[in-house]
């Protein structure tokens, strides 16, 4: 059963507003992209990601995303210093949102990673199924 109530007051009940309040900033979706497409799991990996997020912002966003139930965190068993972050089903459910945002930007802007764009374009449903499968298997990251 989905549909959890928010612990705070929303500006409106519109579902789009709910999405925007959870994800409407310059970093959250990039972190989710790194987890979903690149298999990133640790603070350091996110920190070294291409767009160079600041460490305090990263810490804040990870906490926020965890509070929203989009990601989960646990200590690494083999190395007690490490936190391992992972997508929850709710986070994984953002795959269609990410793919549509990728397709939109690729259609109207001059962007890189055209290989990914072509792959999504060619078989969107297949791509989404592949993402889901990779996380169902808990196997190695994409790249």
């Amino acid at each position: 059963m989905p549909a959890k109530k928010p612990a705070f007051k929303r500006r409106s009940g519109c579902p789009l507003n709910a999405s925007v309040e959870m994800l409407g900033d310059r970093w959250s979706l990039l972190i989710i992209r790194d987890m979903m497409l690149l298999g990133y799991r640790t603070f350091k990996e996110f920190l070294n990601s291409h767009e160079r997020i600041a460490s305090n912002i990263l810490a804040d966003r990870l906490l926020r995303l965890e509070n929203y139930g989009i990601i989960a965190s646990a200590r690494d068993l083999s190395d007690g210093r490490k936190q391992i972050y992972s997508l929850t089903p709710k986070g994984l459910g953002l795959a269609p949102v990410l793919t549509e945002m990728v397709l939109w930007a690729a259609a109207y802007e001059d962007t890189g990673n055209q290989a990914l764009v072509r792959l999504i374009h060619k078989d969107k449903d297949g791509f989404l199924a592949q993402v889901r499968k990779r996380f169902a298997n808990r196997s190695s990251p994409a790249k």
Copy 2:
């Protein structure tokens, strides 16, 4: 021919990053929603929208969205005080992004407007075709 170059430097070439830099804030997508789904066209209409955006933020966002080519503006011929804002094809191209965000939030959060959610769920492609058609006709707003 799509794919325009940005006039400024992006943090990365990733298409998702491009989307996030253009739309990653708490208001832009809500303005686009108001235009796309409710047929809003004037400053005052956006200002009176449910989430209560501040006027300076609204002015800033309208300018940003226009600079990104997502919306266009023109003076109202019958009332010289009014600016009429409208979606460009690029802005209209955001319809799939909005619908996926709506579906995601509706699936995992307790949100309102379930009528819209059910409509989208039942026939997503039909819904998108309907939005496109409404703007092709330049006819009256949805509501």
